[in-house]
């Protein structure tokens, strides 16, 4: 066959040709130099920067998280404190209110006691005055009555006076005995 004879004579696929060796070497060296000096350092730098910024970003996120946690804690603390204060204020107010009520009650009681006491004094005074006035009137009335009954005027003023006084004293003793038992009854009722 013509093919095989031509082949065997001139071409061997495993014998490298000089020009192709040189061109292959040069081509590779051009590629290698550009990658070595220019392109790969450039992408390496970018990848490093990216790693940095990712790590930086993570760092920043961590910081922000810590700050947020601290802030939340502070808020919580403030809130708790505020609650405590509010409770304390409410408590104080309640206590104060109670104290005021007690005080007012005391004062009222005192005023009432005073009023009652002064009323009683007044009444006693009035009663005494009335009793004194009545004593006089009663004397004269009794004398008038007696004069009318007896039909004669009692001349002896001194004697007359003594009789009246004696009579009145008797009356008074009677009245005292009666009011004494009365007072005891009132005290019992008051208790």
């Amino acid at each position: 066959m013509p093919n095989t004879t031509v082949l065997a004579g001139t071409f061997s696929p495993i014998a490298p040709k000089g020009d192709e060796l040189v061109i292959g070497t040069i081509a590779f060296l051009i590629i290698f130099t550009i990658f070595w000096k220019k392109l790969l350092p450039s992408i390496k730098k970018t990848l490093d920067e990216r790693t940095d910024s990712i790590e930086g970003g993570l760092e920043r996120a961590k910081e922000a998280q810590a700050a947020a946690a601290a802030l939340q804690e502070e808020y919580q603390r403030n809130l708790t404190e505020a609650r405590h204060q509010a409770a304390k204020i409410t408590q104080d107010a309640r206590e104060q209110g109670a104290a005021i009520v007690a005080q007012m009650r005391g004062e009222g009681q005192e005023q009432r006691d005073n009023l009652v006491a002064s009323g009683r004094t007044q009444l006693d005074a009035d009663a005494t005055a009335t009793r004194a006035a009545l004593k006089g009137d009663l004397g004269s009335l009794a004398i008038q009555l007696a004069s009318k009954i007896v039909g004669e005027s009692l001349e002896d003023e001194a004697r007359q006076r003594g009789t009246v006084d004696r009579f009145l004293s008797e009356l008074e003793a009677k009245a005292d005995a009666a009011s004494g038992s009365n007072a005891a009854t009132t005290a019992k009722a008051g208790a």
Binding site: P13, E20, L21, I23, G24, F28, I31, F35
Partner: protein
């Protein structure tokens, strides 16, 4: 006769009248792709001075431009919040840095990321040219290119090793730890030969042969589909065509895998060169 027709176009159109069950009884050997399809020396696309620029050479220039343009767009003015092509570039960068450099060398590997990165995408683009419609030729199936790269890998790891260990690097290369002295008499010459001389060849040939064979396989099925295409041969042709499609998909995987293996081995050689002396 078929060579002149095939020039610059590909194996499919070798001889359009050659069919199975055809009147002229033409055999498949007349249309089957062969090693000569990888020889572009006698069919340059154009000349610069007296130098004939062939398809593989032009493709290497194209790959260089495409690769630089893409990653320039991705990496030249990178944003902290990546957009569009920068995302793709970053995935690529992080893959090479984390899955290749750091996995094999640890933190020391960062220094070699530009080398491994350039290597990975240069090799992958050379491989993937096999898939690109209208090009459909893996540049790495031309031995000179894998060989040039393997030579640079060799220089790099030898330099790194001698810089790290001085002449003690021979010990690292030739004396595996935990081997009894008696065995070392046999093992050390083998290890030295393997690590110093054989490594670059296997590195280059593994890539070359995979791409060469893969391309040949796809081209053979494609040529078969054409050769058997007739009323009688339609099922054979269809089967062959299906295989060509399946193999193209499979090759897409192999292209990435071989680029990965090439760079992974480079990284492991470098890791060996940088490891602690034992």
């Amino acid at each position: 006769m078929s060579l002149s027709l095939a020039a610059g176009v590909g194996a499919l159109s070798t001889d359009s009248s050659c069919h199975l069950f055809g009147k002229n009884g033409c055999g498949f050997n007349n249309v089957a792709p062969g090693a000569d399809d990888f020889d572009f020396s006698n069919r340059p696309w154009f000349h610069i001075g007296t130098y004939g620029v062939t398809k593989p050479v032009l493709l290497v220039v194209l790959i260089t431009v495409v690769m630089l343009a893409f990653f320039w767009a991705a990496f030249n003015k990178p944003k902290e919040v990546p957009r569009g092509v920068q995302n793709v570039g970053e995935v690529a960068y992080l893959f090479v840095r984390d899955r290749i450099a750091r996995d094999s060398m640890g933190a020391k590997g960062d220094k070699y990321v530009p080398f491994l990165f350039s290597l990975f995408f240069f090799v992958w683009l050379m491989n993937v040219m096999s898939f690109v419609p209208g090009i459909q030729f893996p540049v790495s199936s031309v031995i000179a290119f894998p060989a040039a790269l393997a030579a640079m890998v060799w220089l790099t790891y030898m330099y790194a090793g001698f810089k790290r260990h001085g002449l003690g690097y021979f010990r690292v290369l030739g004396v595996p730890s935990g081997v009894p002295l008696g065995i070392l008499f046999i093992l050390t010459p083998i290890e030295l030969l393997s690590n110093i001389l054989v490594r670059p060849f296997t590195l280059a040939i593994r890539l070359f042969a995979n791409m060469f064979a893969g391309h040949l396989l796809v081209a053979t099925f494609a040529a078969g589909a054409w050769y058997m295409f007739s009323v009688k041969g339609i099922f054979f042709s269809g089967a062959s065509f299906t295989m060509a499609i399946v193999m193209t998909g499979f090759e897409l995987f192999i292209q990435a895998l071989q680029a990965y293996i090439f760079v992974m081995l480079t990284a492991s050689y470098l890791a060996g060169a940088l490891e602690e002396a034992h």
